[in-house]
C-alpha cells in the first residue's frame, strides 16, 4: 500500500498525506488497529522533513483517525472510518455554506441558487473530475 506526494502541488504536502491516509481508512484499506509507519520512516521514504509528516500525523490524531501509543507505534483507531466520514461531512457542510453565502453576496436569489445546485447535481461525477 503506497502513498504518493507531489512536492509542487498547490495542496500542501502534509495535507496530501492526511487526505490519502483518510481515503485509505474510508475505503477500508487501512483497517482499525492497522499499524502505520513511524514519522521517521515515512519522512525518510518520502524524502521530506520529519516535521511535515509529524504535522500530518498530529492532524490525523486530532481528527481521531489515528492513535499514537508511545514507543509501540501509530495505529488506525477503532472508529477511524466514522471519524473520517464525520470530518468529510463537516468539511462538505462548511464548503456548501461558504459557497451559498458567496452566491447570496453576489445577489442571487434562493430559487436561482437551487436551480444552480440542481443543474450541478445532474452532471455526472466523471464530467466534474478534471
Amino acid at each position: 500500500m503506497e502513498i504518493t506526494v507531489i512536492t509542487t502541488s498547490p495542496e500542501p504536502v502534509y495535507e496530501q498525506i492526511v487526505r490519502q491516509i483518510q481515503d485509505r481508512v474510508a475505503a477500508g484499506e487501512l483497517k482499525p488497529g492497522a499499524p502505520l509507519p513511524t514519522v521517521r520512516q515515512l519522512a525518510g521514504d518520502l524524502q521530506l522533513n520529519r516535521n511535515t509528516v509529524a504535522r500530518a500525523y498530529k492532524q490525523l490524531e486530532d481528527r481521531g483517525v489515528i492513535l499514537t501509543a508511545g514507543r509501540k507505534g501509530t495505529f488506525v483507531r477503532d472508529n477511524a472510518s466514522r471519524e473520517v466520514e464525520r470530518v468529510k461531512s463537516n468539511r462538505a457542510e462548511r464548503s456548501v455554506r461558504h459557497l451559498v453565502a458567496a452566491l447570496i453576496g453576489d445577489g442571487l436569489s434562493r430559487a436561482e441558487i437551487e436551480t444552480l445546485f440542481s443543474d450541478a447535481l445532474r452532471v455526472k461525477p466523471k464530467e466534474t473530475t478534471p
Partner: protein
C-alpha cells in the same frame, strides 16, 4: 607454505572490494539518476550517455587492485621488505592488506562523495515521491529462528566468560576485562543491527527495493556473530595458551568477502522508466 593460504584470502578480499563491487556498482548509475529525477534523465540523455561511458573510477579501482595484489605477492615472495619490522609473514600480509584496503576505500569514498555532490548540484530532486504505508518490522527481513540463534549464541558466549571467570579457568583480571569488552562489542553490534532497520531510506533502498535493507539487516545480524567468534577464539587462547590471532584475522577477511557477495547478488528493483516518481517505489517487498 601456509602463507599462501593467507595470501589467497587477502587477494580474494582485494578482488571483491576493488574489482567485483565497483564493476557491479557501476550499472546503478542510471537507476540512481532515475530515482532522483526521471524527468531530468529523459531531458539529459547526452549527459547520461557520457556518464555511462566514463570508466575512470572503475579503472582506478582496477589499478589499485593490481597494485595491492602485486604488493601482497611481493611480500609473500620476500621481494618487498617488511614495513612492520621482524613480524611474522602472516602478520605482514594481514597488515599490508588492511592498509591497502583502508587507503583504497578512502579513495573510493572520495569518489562517492564527488558523485553525490555532482548529483546534488546538477540533478534536482523529482516532484513525485512514493512510500509504503506499512511499517518496517524485523520479521519482514529475518526469520525468527535466525534471530533466536543469534541471541542464543550471544548469550551463550557471554555466559561462557562468566563460567570461566567463576571457575577460575584463566587469569581473573584478563577474563573479566575480556568479558566487559565483549559485552560492549555485543551491545554495540546489537544497536547497529537495530539502527539498520530504522535508518532513513536512501538511494540504494529505492534502487534495489526492500532487498537492499534485507541484505543489510542480514549482514548486521551476521556481524553480531563477530564478537561471539572473536570471543570464542580469545577464550580458547586464554584456556589453552595457543595463539589464534591469525585465525581471527582470516575470519574477519572471510566475513568481508561474505558481505561483498551479499551486495553482488542485489539487482535493481525495477527497470528504468521515465515516469514521474514511478521508477523506483519503496513498496516492493521481497519475502524474508
Amino acid at each position: 607454505m601456509s602463507e599462501w593460504i593467507d595470501l589467497a584470502v587477502y587477494v580474494t578480499v582485494i578482488v571483491m572490494v576493488f574489482v567485483l563491487l565497483p564493476r557491479h556498482g557501476r550499472q546503478f548509475t542510471v537507476p540512481m539518476l532515475a530515482d532522483r529525477n526521471p524527468e531530468w534523465l529523459e531531458r539529459n540523455r547526452d549527459v547520461v550517455a557520457r556518464l555511462e561511458r566514463s570508466r575512470w573510477v572503475l579503472n582506478a579501482c582496477y589499478a589499485w587492485a593490481a597494485v595491492s595484489i602485486a604488493v601482497l605477492l611481493g611480500a609473500t615472495l620476500d621481494l618487498i621488505a617488511s614495513p612492520f619490522g621482524a613480524a611474522e609473514k602472516w602478520e605482514v600480509l594481514q597488515g599490508l592488506c588492511g592498509a591497502l584496503v583502508i587507503v583504497g576505500m578512502l579513495g573510493w569514498g572520495a569518489c562517492a562523495l564527488l558523485w553525490f555532490v555532482w548529483l546534488g548540484k546538477h540533478v534536482p530532486p523529482g516532484e513525485t515521491r512514493r512510500a509504503t504505508l506499512r511499517p518496517r518490522v524485523i520479521g519482514d527481513y529475518l526469520t525468527l529462528p535466525w534471530r533466536i540463534a543469534v541471541e542464543a549464541l550471544t548469550a551463550l558466549h557471554l555466559a561462557g566468560w562468566i563460567v570461566i571467570g567463576v571457575l577460575g579457568l584463566a587469569a581473573a583480571p584478563k577474563v573479566w576485562w575480556s568479558f566487559a569488552f565483549f559485552v560492549g562489542m555485543s551491545v554495540l553490534f546489537a544497536v547497529f543491527a537495530a539502527m539498520v532497520l530504522r535508518r532513513r531510506s536512501g538511494y540504494l533502498d529505492r534502487v534495489f527495493g526492500e532487498a537492499y535493507r534485507q541484505a543489510e539487516v542480514r549482514g548486521a545480524y551476521t556481524l553480531r556473530l563477530l564478537p561471539v567468534i572473536a570471543g570464542s577464539i580469545a577464550m580458547g587462547e586464554l584456556i589453552t595458551g595457543a595463539d589464534l590471532a591469525r585465525l581471527a584475522h582470516l575470519l574477519v577477511a572471510a566475513y568481508v568477502c561474505v558481505m561483498a557477495s551479499l551486495f553482488l547478488r542485489l539487482r535493481p528493483a525495477a527497470p528504468v522508466r521515465a515516469t514521474p516518481g514511478g521508477a523506483f517505489a519503496s513498496d516492493r517487498r521481497s519475502p524474508a
